[in-house]
């Protein structure tokens, strides 16, 4: 016991704290004898008690160092940052109390403040010192996380920071979150908003492709109309699980365009083997209201409904280097498989099973090589044309042999 007491007072003296030995001994004794706490744990507990008593907080884990955002190059580091809050986004889960973009003179980065951290909220445009935050990485991009051991201190001076300013962009070029962009687009779809924070969301597109947009209620901007073209200025790009979107906030501007922007006329192409026909392919039922496919007769939006039959294929193509999800609509499916919707219904009725249609599709398509074209929406390529790859000719083989021989 004496030994433990000495150890503790030595550690306390290191921090210039003097505590009577009897006090240490009585706390230790209580823990060890009355509450059967192991000696090591008891020592730690008592030490922490007195440190806390005297206002010494210990970095819980590794010590952190002050860095610039551009110096963050790996996950799992504890760092201190002087930053300005450049943007705040709607957290996707309740586990996150705040998320957005922070920046300093060297760059900007996504941050996440966990709800469990119990930390006060950051304000847009204000500058702070963030202490003991952890760096993280997802798919090569870094972010910082504020957790229970982190601290937020407001800064008097303002940190010089700006979002990366990018000049007018095409939809297809958006490949990074946290950029300010201007787009000339047509609104192709408006979705029902499921959050009070969002005034409008849907799809916008230009000739290079389509992208999801979100207009915050707080942005206080006029509503966009479906089918109309606009010049949208000062949008911020965002990313979720590898998919990009743009957000319209308070600083964004909407200018109607006289011209009609053509959407996605530049169709994407993909050539490769069809390696999977996924669940939800074949004969399906759709909600008569929203056209979503039903799961066991239930629409995720409108509940139990009397569905209408449809034929479609959700498949995966693969060229040995990357995969491409594809969607094939009824007309193309009928042509490709040589089966009409009515025939498919008949088939399913006779077999008392919808899955026979999918099996038939599988047997006709899986393992074959196809070339497809169509617009890319989200992770899908919506198939407009699909053709079997040309049979290999002797000339093809000779050409490839020649290429391999000279390599």
């Amino acid at each position: 016991m004496k030994e433990l007491v000495d150890q503790i007072s030595a550690r306390l003296r290191d921090q210039k704290i003097e505590v009577p030995e009897e006090e240490i001994a009585s706390r230790l004794k209580k823990l060890i004898e009355d509450f059967r706490v192991p000696e090591g744990e008891a020592r730690r507990s008592v030490l922490n008690y007195f440190l806390k008593e005297h206002g010494v907080t210990f970095p819980a884990r590794a010590s952190s160092e002050k860095v610039k955002i551009s110096e963050i190059a790996g996950p799992g580091r504890w760092v201190d940052l002087e930053v300005k809050v450049l943007d705040l986004w709607e957290p996707a889960t309740e586990a996150i109390s705040q998320t957005g973009l922070i920046g300093d003179g060297s760059g900007s980065m996504k941050f996440v403040k966990w709800t469990k951290s119990g930390l006060p909220d950051l304000e847009l445009g204000k500058s702070y010192i963030l202490k003991r935050v952890v760096t993280d990485e997802f798919q090569g991009r870094f972010s910082i996380k504020l957790n229970k051991t982190s601290q937020i201190e407001p800064l008097e001076k303002e940190v010089e920071a700006q979002l990366k300013r990018v000049q007018p962009m095409k939809v297809v070029e958006i490949n990074e979150p946290g950029l300010w962009v201007d787009l000339k687009v047509k609104v192709t779809q408006l979705w029902e908003s499921n959050s009070d924070a969002i005034s409008q969301s849907g799809l916008i597109g230009d000739e290079t492709g389509s992208i999801k947009f979100v207009k915050w209620a707080k942005a206080d901007l006029p509503d966009l109309e479906e089918g109309k073209s606009y010049h949208l200025l000062n949008l911020v790009t965002d990313e979720f699980q590898g998919r990009f979107s743009v957000k319209l906030n308070r600083t964004s501007k909407i200018e109607p365009l006289d011209i009609d922007v053509e959407v996605g006329s530049q169709a994407a192409e993909f050539a490769g083997a069809l390696v999977d026909v996924q669940k939800g392919s074949g004969l399906i039922k759709r909600c008569p209201v929203c056209k979503r496919s039903l799961a066991k007769g239930v629409c995720s939006e409108h509940g139990k409904v009397e569905g209408t039959y449809d034929l479609r294929i959700k498949a995966v193509m693969d060229d040995g280097r990357r995969v491409q999800d594809v969607l094939i609509n009824r007309e193309t499916t009928e042509r490709l498989v040589g089966l009409t919707l009515d025939e498919a219904k008949q088939m399913a009725m006779e077999a008392l099973d919808h899955e026979v249609v999918r099996s038939l599709i599988e047997s006709k398509l899986v393992g074959r090589y196809f070339c497809i074209t169509g617009p890319r929406v989200d992770r899908y390529l919506l198939v407009e044309t699909i053709n079997e790859a040309q049979p290999v000719t002797i000339a093809d083989v000779n050409e490839l042999i020649a290429a391999v021989e000279v390599s």
Partner: protein, 288 residues
């Protein structure tokens, strides 16, 4: 965590696939659900493969439940594929196909080490479909191209020695082809020339096959580069290649069995009884 992204099905000739003996789990935390990869000598890091070849034999090696094993042949060799109760669709198709037949297989490569240290690579089929020779030819071209691409990367990484900062690069979750090549080089000391010759041999045998099928159809038709063209009215030829191709395959069944025999004699391979160990692997795979 990230949304799941599907693993690419790699194209690897059988000879190369069977030379692989380096398997590992990837991901920051090496937990049991981290995906399993097989790294091949030319640096294909594969969790999934796509192959098209000739099914030359099939057997139900299961006990109470069906467990199907098939042998698939490509121009460079043959490999065993498996489908059991956890791949019901693949198993059913394998059960109903009569060998020999052209098949397309999507599956997971499986590495098994015997007690005496031999390594056996097989493929656990996710799906098997009967295809035609046109598809098989396309696969050989496809696989030759992909292998050629890997060899190119492999050759360019050869002179690079292991540097001090390799460890940081290694932590990156998605490895680049160059890193895979580097890793393959370190493990296998791959002789790129050997695999280049393999690609050339595979293509030469494809050329011979095509020559042969041209010869067969000549007497019945106008000389044309596309042997299928005479079967259907010319207007539809471009739009619908498949029915034509099927007929051409039927015509060529003699060449097909010839090919299978030839490959079998070229490579007489003793397959040890690995019913039980593979069953074990099966169970683990299904749990994932």
């Amino acid at each position: 965590m990230a949304g799941f992204s599907r693993e690419v099905a790699r194209r690897i000739f059988v000879e190369e696939l069977k030379s692989a003996n380096y398997s590992f789990r990837d991901g920051e935390d090496q937990h049991q659900y981290a995906p399993q990869y097989l790294l091949t000598p030319t640096g294909a890091k594969c969790n999934r493969v796509f192959m098209v070849g000739t099914l030359t034999e099939k057997d139900d090696i299961g006990g109470d439940t069906e467990y199907w094993r098939g042998r698939v042949v490509d121009p460079t060799g043959s490999i065993l594929i498996y489908a059991g109760q956890y791949q019901p669709e693949a198993a059913q198709i394998l059960a109903n196909i009569e060998a020999p037949a052209f098949v397309a297989v999507v599956g997971k490569p499986n590495l098994y080490q015997t007690e005496d240290g031999n390594i056996i690579i097989s493929v656990r089929a996710e799906s098997i479909e009967r295809v035609d020779e046109v598809t098989r030819n396309q696969w050989i071209m496809d696989t030759a191209r992909r292998t050629q691409e890997r060899l190119k990367v492999l050759r360019s990484t050869e002179p690079v020695s292991v540097s001090g900062d390799f460890s940081t690069a290694d932590k990156a979750p998605a490895s680049s082809p160059a890193q895979d090549a580097q890793r393959a080089m370190e493990h296998y000391h791959t002789d790129a020339e050997h695999y280049r010759q393999m690609v050339i041999r595979a293509l030469a045998s494809l050329r011979a096959d095509l020559d042969l099928s041209l010869g067969h159809t000549k007497p019945e038709s106008e000389p044309t580069t596309k042997p299928e063209a005479e079967i259907e009215p010319p207007v539809e030829v471009k739009e619908k290649a498949k029915p034509d191709a099927k007929k051409s395959r039927a015509k060529k069944s003699s060449t097909l069995s010839g090919l299978a025999e030839q490959d079998d004699t070229e490579e007489v391979e003793e397959v040890p009884i690995f019913k039980r160990p593979i069953d074990g692997g099966e169970g683990r795979g299904a749990a994932r």
